[in-house]
């Protein structure tokens, strides 16, 4: 009888004991998690202020305006200043890192695995973003330089050629960025090779067929002795 009673008591209390054990196990960790979260928001906020004041001091917005980054943001419908964007990104990156650190405090195997793979992916992600940004800026700068040079050289369709070059550079850097992010590497490389190779081949054929006279003229100019200036040329001495 007594034995039965003990079995019933044990059956009834053991889930509570187990529950209590779990609370004892998780409680401090949950507290730790909350403290790390709060610290993350605080550190993020402080870093955001720091980044904002440093970028303001070095006139980062002016720099972005000069290199055309502000215009690109405006075109994309983003009205915040580049300084504000970087400061916000810093804040959320710090908060995100603290959240991950907080979750690892729970000592749950699945969460631990997730966090370790996220941490190992983070450098690739940041590098990928950096590649996108550099690619965009380089494409802007080079296409602008090319556009001005083509206009000054009186080349027709200057804007079209400069736009093609800009797109090609952006595509090249997008492919590099995606490669860095590790998204469907094989597909990206194959697509890019086909696209880029196709465009270059197309341009080469177009130039060969459409510009053979120009090419002939260019080669003649290079190889033949200089002819007398054409009657249409200027004699103005600009200086």
């Amino acid at each position: 009888m007594l034995g039965n009673l003990m079995i019933i008591q044990l059956t009834l209390t053991s889930p509570f004991i187990e529950f209590w054990d779990r609370i004892v196990f998780l409680g401090p960790r949950l507290l730790e998690l909350i403290i790390i979260f709060v610290a993350g928001f605080l550190v993020g906020w402080l870093l955001k202020l720091l980044v904002k004041s440093v970028l303001t001091a070095i006139k980062f917005d002016v720099l972005c305006f000069r290199i055309g980054f502000s215009a690109a943001l405006q075109r994309a419908g983003i009205i915040r200043s580049p300084t504000a964007i970087i400061a916000h990104l810093t804040y959320w990156l710090v908060v995100f890192l603290f959240i991950l650190a907080g979750l690892s405090a729970l000592k749950v195997a699945a969460v631990d695995n997730l966090i370790s793979s996220l941490f190992s992916y983070l450098p690739h992600f940041l590098l990928g973003i950096l590649v996108f940004i550099i690619g965009y800026l380089l494409a802007q700068f080079l296409s602008r330089a090319l556009l001005i040079a083509l206009v000054n050289a009186e080349v027709k369709y200057a804007r079209f050629i400069a736009a093609i070059v800009q797109v090609l550079i952006i595509v090249l850097f997008i492919a590099m960025g995606i490669e860095q992010l590790g998204i469907a590497r094989g597909v990206v490389v194959a697509t890019f090779s086909i696209f880029f190779g196709g465009v270059i081949l197309g341009l080469a054929i177009a130039f060969g067929l459409g510009g053979k006279d120009i090419a002939k003229e260019l080669l003649e100019k290079r190889l033949k002795p200089p002819a007398e200036p054409k009657s249409k040329s200027d004699e103005i001495s600009h200086i």
Partner: protein
Amino acid sequence: MAKDILTKEVKEKIKEYQKADIVVGIPSYNNARTIPHVVRAVSAGLAKYFSKYNCVLINSDGGSGDGTPDLVTETVVEDFDTILIEHPVYPVSKIITPYHGIPGKGSAFRTIFNIAQLLEAKACAVVDSDLRSISPEWMESLLEPILFHGFDFVAPLYQRHKYDGTITNSIVYPLTRALYGKRIRQPIGGEFGFSGKLVSHFLKEVEVYQTDVARYGIDIWMTTTAVASGYNVCQSFLGAKIHDPKDPGADLSAMVSQVVGSVFALMDTYYGKWSETSNSTPVAEFGFKFEVGLDPVRVNLERMVENFKQGVLNLKGIWNKFLSKDNLRELKRMSSYHVLEFRFPDELWVKIIYDFALAYHNKVMSREHILKSLTPLYLGKTASFVNETIESTAQEVEDKIENLCREFEKQKDCLLKNWVQ
């Protein structure tokens, strides 16, 4: 530091000559066709007007492949009787040397300045090596104000064809006059006289020889430095300026960008000076002025206007970062003009030049992009100038340039207002 850019042979020559009263520099690069005449004119001028002085002629060459330096060595004045010299004359001492640094006229001048300083020259002159109209009297005109009248800088005054020197007429002369208040008509003429004191000043600023000043920017840099630093400045009439046609392959855009870039860079350097200057005053003039018949100049108006139109069509996305909407709208309207009706109003031109200067100062984008995007507008202004002066006499053309100068002076307050130091 000064000696570092000179070759061993040059240093030995300097040791040999020890001192010189007068140094005349001729920068060159493939000028075999014209340099013998220039050397003869300089030698005759020095013999005729400065026979009592120690004179050294320096040829600073950029690596000519046509034997230019050899021609300088070989060229002598064979018969002094023809230029009416009766006193005994001696061959002029020569230093012929390649220059080092960025290829360009400015680097060639730097070598000449260094040698002049080491020779402790009292007066110096520089003349271009492509001149066909130089005469011995040019030496007198460039050097006498320095040696006998206490001036430190002599700018040239020429008779030029109305379509000659269009960067000077439409940008450099009016802008430097409005900024620094001195009416120096040919601030980038190419031929200058200057004192030994000013040579030392030119050599103080070592860094500028790494900029566009090492190329086409040297002339405006010398003139502006002399004016803004408070040296005694005058101009001398030299007669006609006729030179070998420039290399047709020479990049106009690079020329415009180097000259205008140097003017804009100097605006940063001498803000304190030009911000305090209002109006302009004439400078002392030497020489007897006379009219000269000049060869007609062929102009391809259609090409210039076409380039302007292409610029407006393609570059408005760049210009809208620093030109006002009204000015852009006006440019767009102008691009519908027929070639012979094409006009570029002075008022709009001045606004645009000042906006470019502000954009350069504020670095709204790559400075090279700002400057190079000016070329189509400059060609538009030149086309308009040709259209407006097609029937004009030399005096009427001068009056037109005078009006443009006044417009630059009138709008200077607006430039100052928008200039943030």
